[in-house]
Amino acid sequence: MDLEYGERYEEFRREVRSFLEEHRPTRPVGGFLEGPRDELIRWLTLQIERGYWARTIPKEYGGYGAPPDLLETVIMDEEFNRAGVPRGMMAQGPSMLVPTLLEHGTEEQKRRWVGPTMRGEVVWCQGYSEPGAGSDLASLQTSAREDGDDFVINGQKIWTSTADKSDMMFVLVRTEPDAKKHAGISYLLLPMDTPGIEVQPMRTMSGSLGENSFNQVFFSDVRVPQSNVVGRRGEGWKIANTTLKHERNSLNANPEGTLFRLMKLMKEETVNGVPAMASPVYRDHLMRLQGRTLAMKHHGMRMLTCSLKSEWPGAAGLVAKLQNCQLNFDIASLAIDVMGELGVLYDHSKYERERGFWQMHAIFSLGLIIGGGTAQIQKNIIGERGLGLPREPKPAKA
């Protein structure tokens, strides 16, 4: 055990900190694509120039071109969090499409899309889930029929975050109708202004507040060149699995910050004139959550060490998404309970605390327990890949 970062990294930390002191934007930029696009592009471009975004992406594709270094990544994340500024852009293009293109894309695809995506000039959505293909994603039915040099797409996607704000979609479609389930899928890049695409916003349980950018997307004879395939035709499933891995990595943020916010709430919120923190019942509940949070915090450090040493951590490396999403939900739930009858207020009602943050956080966390691989799918993965338990036998065909 050695929990010191060492002088080189402390120097890097000081450098990031002074950058943020000098250039920190005064209003939110880049969280969920709020605000003017040109401001976002300027801010992301500056971060890339300084190496705080697209740090390890090669220069020829629009990145900063530094060698990968996990500790630098941790330090940048810590310092940006401390400054309350998002690092880069939390969106599906940079976090999911770009790593996939770097791994599987052609030279031309990389040169054309990686830089503009990282700079926020091109915004992407992900066309994976369908009404009939959720956990069983490979059963997707949206078809892409070959027609000359093009594919013609028909079908429907659902849960497509930011489809209404996106320029492009990376989409899974069935190009080989006669192939087996997993072998008939291709991964396509599709401009959202192509004729025949209809985007319908969905209303979710978060109601009028919070992240409400889920959509259904309908395709009627949508024409896209065959050259827009990433990898080879019929290899889309393998390529999508790279992308899903990137998503699971990005969904397991440690809830320590949220726990601190709950502790502050419990000191300030009073019932019968007494702060919630003075209640042994609430306090015990809080301490229990703190124990779980500390376990996940240090687990993150242990998994980081495994990555640094390229060691396979086994089942230990598969549990963070499952645990952190549930823990976030439980922290929000205690906050709501502490506020009691005022905890259910919403929609900026009179007496609502923290502009509805805790109800929003509970609902959003529930969404993350389901999204990006449900908790039950995670448990299958942990059981089968982590513990070596046998897969469920396939049912006999009737």
Binding site: M1, M301, A315, E384, L389, P390
Partner: protein, 361 residues
């Protein structure tokens, strides 16, 4: 930065585990459960030869002068094998206290522990929980009162006990006026007893020993968490192995999601707890300001996941898991007693809140 075990630590763990597999298999544990005290001296002496009894004792007193993380790995291995041995009292709590106390006799006692010649019991329950009106006080140079749930004291040569508010004393196990009664618990692999003192002459008395008491309790809680963690780890291994070979409805039961998800939930709780345990043990030596809080959280958290794992791992086995013959109950009961030996989860969490200034101490 390196959050993990060193090569030496992995080697230490391997050494202890193969020793236990060879010398103290479950058949031996079954024999020891019927002894008047399960702490077997021959196992203790062999552990001394491996350097385990003196793991925290400085080299100048015959020990190996290692860190609490190393001791925690030994404790974890002992819990994993449900080994009856006075490691917690004699090799962790007593040495930590003795190192913080200044007396002409303490170096010789430490050397005796390291050599495997001395067994030290520890009776400090009343510093965090008083029941049955227990408590020990010094009157006219002699000790009077009673101490409950003393650890590893039955067969001990010497016992370290809490006296009054923040004092400590050492008494001989066979001192005149000392009556020991074994307090049998569900766990036949751990020694717990009551000490009644009626004018016992102490070997040494330490006033104002609050720091030594605090440090020994922190170390004890982390080592006990490690013991319980090791028992949890073994129960999951046994449950997964069973799910991989037991068939019902013409299928391995591990292929049923109902069973698979039980196993996944157990390991999903266990692995982050391992990270917390390592950090808590590391903090004892490297980050002493954090150690009191981390000890409370590590033991409370592992006690909570431990109760669940002990129950679920037994359920994975079905009816056979509930029999004496399957032996699984040794681990279940080890986890159950560890939950309360140095403070239960509610007590520990209240202490955690006090340490952070969130509750009135």
């Amino acid at each position: 930065m390196d959050f993990g075990l060193s090569e030496d630590q992995r080697l230490l763990e391997d050494t202890i585990r193969s020793f236990l597999a060879d010398r103290v298999p479950i058949t031996r544990v079954r024999e020891l459960r019927d002894a008047p005290c399960p702490n077997d001296r021959s196992i203790w002496r062999e552990l001394a030869e491996l350097g385990a009894t003196g793991i925290l004792i400085p080299e100048e007193h015959g020990g190996s002068g290692l860190a609490l993380l190393d001791a925690a790995l030994v404790a974890q291995s002992l819990g994993h094998a449900v080994t009856p041995t006075p490691f917690l009292g004699s090799a962790v709590m007593a040495p930590v206290a003795l190192a913080a106390l200044d007396d002409a006799k303490t170096p010789a006692w430490s050397a005796g522990i390291a050599a495997g010649e001395l067994v030290f019991g520890v009776a400090v329950t009343e510093t965090f929980s008083v029941r049955e009106g227990a408590g020990v006080e010094l009157r006219g140079g002699a000790l009077h009162g009673k101490a409950m749930m003393a650890i590893d004291a039955c067969d001990a040569d010497l016992v370290l006990l809490a006296v009054g508010g923040d004092g400590l004393a050492v008494v001989r196990g066979d001192a005149a006026g000392l009556t020991q009664t074994r307090l049998a618990t569900i766990d036949a692999t751990r020694c717990t007893s009551e000490l009644v003192l009626d004018g016992v002459e102490p070997e040494a008395v330490f006033d104002g020993a609050g720091d030594a008491l605090d440090r020994m309790l922190i170390a004890g809680r982390i080592a006990l968490a490690a013991d319980s963690f090791g028992a949890c780890e073994s129960m999951i291994e046994q449950a997964v192995a069973y799910a991989q070979q037991r068939k019902q409805f013409d299928r391995l039961i591990g292929s049923f999601q109902a069973v698979k998800h039980m196993c996944a939930e157990m390991i999903a709780d266990l692995e982050p707890a391992r990270s917390l345990l390592w950090y808590a043990a590391h903090s004892f030596d490297a980050l002493p300001d954090e150690a009191p809080l981390m000890a409370c959280h590590a033991l409370a958290h592992i006690s909570e996941i431990g109760r669940e794992i002990a129950s679920v791992a037994t359920q994975v086995h079905g009816g056979i898991g509930w029999t004496d013959e399957q032996n699984l109950h040794f681990w279940f009961k080890r986890i159950g007693v560890a939950r309360h030996l140095l403070g239960g989860p509610e007590l520990l969490r209240n202490r955690a809140a006090e340490i952070q200034g969130l509750a009135a101490a």
